[in-house]
Amino acid sequence: MKLAAMGASHATRLSFMRILLRRLKSENWRFERKIFDFDKKGVGTAVYVAHGPQHAYSLVCFGHDLPPEMRSDRVIATAWDATFCLHDGIADQQTIERLRQNIPLQEAGRVLSSELSVSRANRSVRLFDHVVERLAMGQQPDIARLTETGYLMRTTAVYGSGKLGAADRETIHERAEFSAPFQVEMLSVYLTRAFILDLVEAMARKRSPDTAVRLQPHLRRSLGVGNSTGLGMAPFLINHPALLNNWIAAREEALARVRNLDTATPQQIGLFVELLQRSRLNAANWRSSDGRQTRHIAELNEDLARLDDATARHLLSGALPWNALYQWAATKLSAEGRELVAALLLEPHGELVDDLAANMSADETAGFRIDGAITIGRMREILENVHGELLDQDWSAPEANARLWYYSEEKLEPRLGEREEEPLDAYEQPLAPARDAAHLARDLEGEDGAMPLAGFLLKHPQHRHTVRRTQIATSLPYAEIRDNTIAADMLPVDLLRCKLAFFGAQQFDPRSDRWIRINMFKGAPFPDELHQADADFWPYAVPETGK
């Protein structure tokens, strides 16, 4: 798995937002807006409750009056337009007041094991104000402007898994609704989207009670939740090798199952072509301010013109039809096109692949213990199998060893530094597995191959980390990124995009080589529509109906 391929990732039906909405619908979850009290500036409190078969969860929302000069998506911000907490259960008044003292402070506050996530969002100011203004006047907003931005608020961090004192994932992962990865965070964002749309309509009503109207349902649906993600997320995939393996393995297994099918039914072909058409709309509406991404989007649009409906039907008419289409894409399309076609191939085959969602979580502790009984000779073989030619690369070359990952004192967040420019070596995080493997291989060279690894580790404790992760990668083929994560030309956004695609994000918009904006739940039915709406193919744009 190479960084460049990770940087072309697309969401699939195994993405975590898709998994969540299928479950909410199939289990008939019930949603309730328990408290909603805001003034015309958007200051106030809301509580949304999601009732599942066994448990209920409350999204507690606080709206703030944020001076424009304080509005920043960066992690160094200290105030936000809105702050949120997903509480385990139905939040009572005492809980809401406790959260009111802590949640608006975000990292400077604390929560308890009864809380599952902490997050915040900022308005996309121009669009937000435009929508409130138009609705207050009794008019619908400008469609071109809605399309251009695609969301009214951006979350700038969604913290789960024990952050700030919240519940450890290990205490809730046995609940069916949280068995797939990041379901807490996705549920929180899904409810946040409902809050944001309710908020603009409420602010319009407060501003002009006599004339205000609601946003038309199809326009409402077209808006997602934005997200701005920086380097804070980048080391995650390197730090969770078993999880990364299980995500990639699920996708690869799903593709293999579909490509092995002997035939395509007319219904499957019909659905594929319909979603292909809708993908063309998605691609046509995808904008980025980044030159490289803009070129890739242009290539994708060309790819989707090349894969016209007739070509798709033709490719799907022979033996091993899905494999034929996959192979055609591999030779004819750009990386973006190939990844999108791979995602589309899975769509008509939910019954065949959706069960793989259950395999996407991972217990990172399962592979934690080192087998020190193996010989040094065996360890050399394992290194060779996992890292191959990367072991022979010249790691003293400046361009190979150009960067280093570290945490800053200021915000305790990951950063990427230039090794030659700043004295940061002492702070380097273990986020260059291939280089570290090469160093381990070098130190193993002079040793007696018949001796146990445990003895080597007593003399060379600095290799303990690399021995551990290489042993994990022995049984998990996708655990290790087969690339240089500290090269002069590596792009951190490639790591971000891969992770965000697994979340189910759309409309990737890199804002530099190390932060990216995305759209989440765009097109999804709202909680109150879920029982009657399609909960599966919502990421694919619906052609203008004129309604």
Partner: protein, 216 residues
């Protein structure tokens, strides 16, 4: 007392061990060990803070067993319980096969207990640790103390033994320990803070990579 999640306890312990000069791999062992103690209701943060204070910036090879055979000794120092425990787990197959390991002096021996718990999940039914008057049995899902509770917190043991046992009573369920005394947390956090790089204006701008406006 502040409530910390087990993930926070593990992450800060790992960073603290790294900040005190341990390698990343050994720091990971420290993080898991402290978390495991807190899972079983025992104050791991306090013990690790004390251990790191005593061994701050010592070369970790001088705190680990010099060889795998015979009685484990650490040259001139007492053994580090984290290095000792990690090495016990590295030779899990030998211990599961019945080898009893005896060590020389080891500091804060209770920090070896999490590794005994890990060993109990790797082929042995249960593991018995003994030092001074203490005998503790570790199972995969808990621990059984066969002696005085206060004796667990000895700063040093002249010798420690670790061996497989065949049968063991069931461990009673205990609540995880989430509350940590503020001064213990501060001591640990001071070590952890050393892993964070001081910021220059250039790295602040470049490192996080903001080049376009983010408030539109």
């Amino acid at each position: 007392m502040t409530h910390w999640s087990l993930n926070e306890i593990e992450a800060t312990s790992k960073r603290a061990a790294r900040g005190a000069g341990r390698s990343w791999g050994m720091a990971e062992e420290a993080g898991k060990a402290v978390r495991s103690l807190h899972e079983t209701g025992l104050p791991g943060v306090k013990l690790l803070a004390a251990l790191l204070h005593e061994t701050d910036n010592l070369a970790e090879t001088t705190l680990a067993p010099t060889r795998l055979t015979g009685v484990w000794q650490a040259g001139n120092n007492s053994l580090c319980p984290i290095a000792t425990g990690a090495t016990l787990c590295d030779i899990a197959a030998e211990i599961a096969a019945g080898r009893e390991v005896t060590t020389g002096p080891v500091t804060w021996p209770l920090l070896v207990l999490p590794f005994a718990r890990a060993l109990a999940g790797m082929g042995a039914t249960a593991i018995r640790l003994r030092w001074a008057d203490v005998s503790v049995d570790a199972l995969r899902d808990g621990v059984l103390l066969n002696s005085d509770f206060d004796a667990l917190f000895a700063a040093r043991a002249e010798s420690l033994t670790c061996r497989r046992i065949e049968t063991c009573a069931r461990a009673s369920a205990v609540q995880p320990l989430h509350n940590v005394a503020a001064d213990d947390w501060e001591r640990l956090n001071a070590f952890a803070f050393r892993t964070f790089a001081p910021e220059s204006e250039a790295s602040r701008r470049k490192g996080a990579g903001s080049s376009l406006p983010d408030n539109d």
